[in-house]
Symmetry: C2
Subunit: 413 residues, 2 copies
């Protein structure tokens, strides 16, 4: 199957929101061996929707739509496609029931326009919406499969993974499959990585290798193509091995893992606990930690000491240290890490202090960051970083570096 | 001008990255009155690039390309468009100099393939790249304007705002302009808002009104079209006034502001300071606060008390409260808010405790959240919320609700 993803929504064309749906769907399709060759975005406009569908029918045999399934007047995807394909719409009882339940659970009155959401293509496979009202649907007609999904990612994503993917797998010609594996690296630049693997990048055809650099990390996507599941995995394993022999020290994980997640796994494996003191990162590290469920196994909490006075009063950083070295200093980072560790009674204490920008602080340039790491029964250390980019980028890169320091420290235990 | 944005890059089709460029460019173009009707994404493939350009030429008179200007073999946008349009490429001296400088500043050797980045269309306007190597370019041919921009957002965004927009404004027929204004609402559902404004939604043609619901907020985008700047603003003002007469109590700000930003403005205007104690949100609130530069005027810091023991030891929440009511309780939220306020010596203390999910906690369902608010010289209060959605959604909505509570409290001072 060759796919095209068509997102319908004027808010996308106005730049009000970003089309994260196309990314999510593309990744999910790649995982089951469906190639996506086109993403298209149009507004809530019948005429233009018809035209792009006619173009898509010439170049794709799987067309996935997102958006325009809601109750309002500008939700017109379903009606437009039905008219274009010449299929009738009929009321799906289960979907209607689910919409009625949705309102009654919230003690709200269901208005008439909400019923229209339960209309589906005659003869289609209905995809239940466990997180909203409008159901999705799949229909194959004249050799082309059409899948309609709702626009809100919180509804679309679980619908696709829970129901949509299976509906597609059933319809696939499974003679040959592609399979991807992403290797993630930290602490090495893209050019340097490419340099060390140049012969591989140039010589590899199966698996293929695609590098990508973003936010201080580099990834390599390996994609193998073969009918046999075992052979695909073997092809990926062999190439991964060769890559790791050369740049393994920078490798930290697979696919969509993160440095913070890998750090968490290691802390948990070692049966340790973590606390964190953040200044310039302002809670970003702890937020990323707690976005993972189940972290209370190893994460106790921490502080956001944005003001110097809070560093002193809440975290017992000594006033002398701050007066003598400033808050953007190795000494302050060390005290923050050590004190948060003692205060929260954890084995690991991690700290961040520095200049996020745009203004300088204590005469130091934005991007000047100190990461402090205190571990029980080991000398407390601090690392100075020179990070580039804007405020957001400096904070994000500082957080990654902190997780990397913990990973390296635990790996050398 | 009617625009189409074509992004070139296989990493987009594999779902490895999201097309934030299309969003950014769309918003920038909307601001200068250029309509965007299509976004298209294709991989690094000459044939398909040619085909989508031929389609775009039928329906747009401004085509903006992102990606494929780099030094590697799969960067083929420039060469493909040049061949399609029949224009020659020539070396741009300033761009070449800038690339050479880029390498020498970093003490790196420039490889031959990097020179190719300085090739530009003959007769085009070159857009300097202040944050990378590949320059952009603009060329108008047979009534269609082509703009080529680099793929990395850190290069593309400043190039567009600093140079690209002016190049487009010069080429525009400025007889009529559109202007948008987004009104943001919190605490009211999309259907209910639409219900109260139904006659406006149906009757309005200039300005038009487009509603959008996302993450517990609803926005309405008003778009006015007129040659006169004053008339456009007057049209927007009049409609905004009418809308606010009906649903003004839920209005909180304009365009891409956030509840946290508006909260910050109010705190600063009132010359107050804020501290925060977070449990289920794990730093998300403070992270959002500190992502804004200059918040040290009014934000002192806070704590992330993920473990009950940390609530007791670090924040002095009484053990009796936790034993009797649990951490997911009005009582605990109140103590957290009050104690963080006293500990950090601020006028406002805000707290979050609850169940992010997916597991239940203390027998309470995910989405059960208490927001505590303590203000100097006022009784401390806590609000119970029932939030829907997954872990991420619950945390995000809790943060918004907290900001909303502070806004409402300060508005009633």
């Amino acid at each position: 199957m060759n796919g095209e993803i068509i997102a319908v929504g004027s808010e996308l064309l106005l730049g009000q929101i970003v089309n994260t749906n196309a990314r999510f769907i593309s990744e999910e399709l790649a995982n089951i061996g469906i190639n996506v060759y086109y993403h298209t975005v149009i507004g809530d406009n019948k005429q233009r929707l018809k035209q792009v569908v006619e173009i898509a029918q010439q170049r794709a045999d799987l067309i996935i739509f997102t958006g325009g399934l809601g109750p309002t007047k500008d939700d017109l995807t379903k009606e437009t496609i039905a008219s274009l394909l010449g299929v009738a719409l009929s009321m799906d009882k289960a979907a209607l029931q689910s919409i009625e339940d949705y309102f009654s659970r919230r003690n709200l009155n269901m208005t008439e326009n909400n019923k229209k959401q339960a209309l589906v293509f005659d003869g289609s496979e209905v995809l239940p919406n466990d997180n909203g009202m409008a159901p999705g649907m799949v229909l194959t007609k004249d050799g082309i499969t059409y899948m309609l999904l709702p626009g809100p990612p919180s509804e679309m994503e679980p619908m696709l993974t829970t129901y949509g993917k299976n509906a597609l797998i059933k319809r696939m010609d499974r003679s040959e499959k592609i399979q991807s594996r992403v290797l993630r690296f930290y602490g090495i630049g893209e050019a340097s990585l490419e340099d060390q693997l140049l012969d591989l990048f140039e010589g590899q055809t199966n698996p293929t290798m695609a590098p990508l650099a973003a936010n201080g990390e580099v990834t390599i996507r390996l994609t193998a193509k073969h009918a046999s599941d075992n052979t695909r995995i073997q092809l990926l394993d062999t190439l991964e091995q060769t890559i790791k022999e050369r740049v393994g020290e920078y490798f930290y994980g697979y696919d969509d893992t993160t440095l913070v997640k890998e750090m968490g796994k290691l802390i948990q494996e070692n049966k340790l606990t973590l606390s964190v003191a953040e200044s310039l990162t302002g809670g970003l590290f702890q937020e990323e930690v707690t976005s993972i469920s189940g972290v209370s196994e190893w994460f106790k909490g921490g502080v956001v000491t944005y003001w110097p006075e809070v560093k002193i009063n809440l975290l017992n950083v000594s006033k002398e240290t701050i007066d003598q070295y400033g808050v953007v200093s190795e000494q302050c980072a060390k005290e923050m890490a050590e004190n948060v560790r003692r205060l929260l009674q954890t084995e690991i204490g991690l700290s961040f202090t520095g200049v996020a920008g745009p203004a300088t602080l204590e005469g130091k340039e934005p991007g000047t960051v100190f990461v402090g790491l205190s571990m029980k029964d080991a000398p407390t250390v601090a690392y100075q970083l020179k990070l580039s980019g804007n405020r957001e980028s400096v904070r994000t890169r500082a957080v990654k570096n902190g997780a990397w320091r913990v990973i390296k420290a635990l790996q050398s235990l």
